[in-house]
Structures are given as C-alpha cells and as structure tokens.
Amino acid sequence: MSDVIVVGAGVVGAACAYYAARAGLDVTVVDRGPVAGGTTGAGEGNVLVSDKEPGPELDLALLSNGLWRELAETRGGFEFEPKGGLVVAETGEIQAQLTGLAGKQGVEHRIVAPTALRELEPHLADGLAGGVFYPQDAQVQPMLAAARLLRHGADSYGHGTVRLRLGVTVTGFIRSGDRVTGVRTDKGDLLGGAVVNAAGTWGGEIAALAGAALPVLPRRGFILVTEPLAEPLIRHKVYTAAYVTNVASDSAALETSAVVEGTQAGTVLIGASRERVGFDRTTSVPVLARLAEQAVALFPALRGVRVIRSYCGFRPYCPDHLPVIGADPRAPGLYHACGHEGAGIGLAPATEHLLAQLLTGREPDLDLHPFRPDRFPEEPR
C-alpha cells in the first residue's frame, strides 16, 4: 500500500514520484515498459519558454524552467544545458510578429537584428530578417532526466519511498464505492491512497479504465539525427517562427518547421513535424526529406553533414493544447498529469510540484483550473 500510485514511468511520472516523495508521500510507479519507454524516449528534451503564447501554459513553463534549474543544481545527472533558444524570422513581417509576441510574453528575451544573428549562430543562412533570443530556453537528456528523477526521489527522501514496478500493465481500477483506491495489473492489485495518471499519450486509455473520458490523441513527430560533429556547428536551439504557429495549430495534416540544435553527444537533432495519423510508426520519406530541406535552408553548412538515424514519437495532444492536471471529479482519488503534447519534458517538474501540493492538501502555487480534467465537452457517441 502506497500513498500514491503513479501510472507511467516517463518524465512526468518520474517527476511525480520525485515531488510526491519530497512532500513526504510513499510512491509506487508502475509502467508496462521500461523507464522512459514512451514519448519521453522519443523527445529532444526541450525545456522551452519561447514557444508559448501568454497564458496558463506559459505560466507553467516559467515555473518549470526554474524548477529544472534547481534540479540541475541540486541533483543533476541529466545533461541540463541552459543553451538558450533563438527564434528566427524569414521576413520583416514575421520579425514584427515575433517581436510583438515577445513583448506580450513577459519572458526574458533580446530582439536580434539581422546583422547580429551570426554573432549568436555563425552558420545561419543569408537573408534572414532577424530573430528573438530567449536565454531561459534549455535542454535536458530526457531519458536520463526521467531515470535520475526516479533515482533521486528514491535515494533522497527515505528508503522505500519510491518503488518502481516495471513491465507491469495496468488493466483497471480498484474502487471503494466511487473512490479509486488502487489499480489492477497483470501482476496483481496495487492499493494506494491516490492514483496519478501520468501515461502521456496513452493517458486517455488509462482514464477510460476509470470510466472517465480524456481526449488525449497521438500527434506524430519525426526527428533526424546527424553524425556526431567534431566541432559544434550550432550553439543554441534554433527554430523558425512557423514552429510557434504549428504547435498551436489544430490541423490533422502534416505540418513541418525547422528546429535545429546540437547535443552534448555531438550530433545535431533536426525536427519538427506534426501529423495526426494514430500510432503509425511507418517512416515517411517525404517528411524526412522536408525536415532536411528546411534544416539546410536555415543552416547551409549542414548540407554535407550526414543523417545517420531518425526516430518518431507520439505527442500526447489535447484539442486545446493544454495538459490535463488535477483531480478528476468523475473518479475521486484519480488525478491526471498527462496530455502535455510536445512540452512534457519542459513542463514535468512544475506539473508534479503542483500536483504534489494538491495531494498533500496545500494550495497549488498556480491556478490549476485551466488544466482541469473535466473541461472537455462530452463527445456525442
């Protein structure tokens, strides 16, 4: 019997275990696969504030940004890199929009004139109209981040505080009257004071086991990985303005925008594509080609650099692009922390810091109302 059962050992579940343990709760984390086996293992490790419109998600991102920095200083072991993000504009009109957005966000930033772009990124293409630099944007190695948070949670707050049950599939919920008091699994029942659904893209399926509808859908993305470079070619996370509009788009059709960054392993990661095609892992050559085309348009020096692999993942997408965080009134005892779309790595610490406050009966530092699980209209069937 644990105080909290967390379903999902991705970065959100790991952060949940860490912050719940810190708040004095005993936690059991269950996952049908290994640590970071789902969307966490297919991400770039974005910790971004630059790509968010003003509003509740940006507030969450800012809180999370500070928490990642704190975790990196006090815990570490997950390649935290406060590299900063540079958003570039292809035209003067786009640059005006970027500048306008930056003014509204209230996030630390610097407007970059076209002539100053190469001071930040020496290999950027000619003819760009400028950009905005966000020093708070950062990157972590997401799989290590999840694994380390679980380990830190287990090691720091008392022996046995965080238990990990991997290769265990949740098959249903245990109810006492209305109340959720545990989960049924293929390896036996697990009882808990509360259950947190941190199943990411599969969060809707877990919620459905409790009879609660949660419209989390997969939004597929491909990433290209280059050969390791002897000298770093790209210093920051660099992306085009189209990325911001694509993130916020509701289209099911393919959308791509150039997102390019170097990693500590020496490789360059190239994204980003978005399409709603279910859980289809078939590689799309046209998408890969488009990612390559956009990357070399932004950084012509990449032309001769080789792609050595690619991978795809499924972002947990909600119709309003906001994550689901908080208690589910339809199933008392069940809490959700999923549906972060492409921002789960960045938003994980704040999500779980706030949820831990909720679980221990304190007032959350941020208003969780915009993220409430029952905000979606019931779909007619």
Binding site: E227, P228, A230, G266, G304, V305, R306
Partner: protein, 80 residues
C-alpha cells in the same frame, strides 16, 4: 602498375582497384583516426562497410569509410 596516394604527406603505394583502407593497411598503417571521447586509435575492423570504425578524411572531404572507398591516384589522406 601501381600508383600513389599519401597519408599526411607520406607516400603509400596502391594497386588499382584497392580501397584506401586496404592500401593503408597493406603499407603497415593500422589507424588513421582517433575516437572523439577516448582518443582511441581506429582503423579497419569489419572491412565491409558496416562498423564505420575506418572513417577517413580524403582530400579534405567529410569522413568516409576507408574500406569502401576506392583509392584514386593522388588522393591525400589526413589524420588530424
């Protein structure tokens, strides 16, 4: 019927049709790059284009697999 290539300026004889890797190996050169973390020397290993250990810089181009790349007269191999 042989021709020459060079490694860091030193001549290496080549029989037509030989790969850069084979020519270097035959000349007693067993490594032509070092790894990026441990600085370990590397040369031929799988010999058939699978392992990428034998990556080589020829005429200043991006690294290629020495075991697949046929040598051409005058090719200049550099190791650093």
């Amino acid at each position: 019927m042989t021709f020459q290539i060079t490694i860091d300026g030193r001549p290496v004889p080549v029989t037509p049709g030989q790969t850069i890797g084979a020519a270097l190996h035959a000349a007693g050169v067993r490594s032509w790059r070092t790894t990026r973390f441990g600085g370990r020397p590397r040369g031929l290993f799988c010999g058939i284009g699978v392992c990428f250990d034998c990556l080589v810089t020829v005429n200043g181009r991006p690294p290629e697999r020495a075991c697949l790349l046929e040598a051409r007269p005058g090719d200049e191999v550099t190791t650093s």
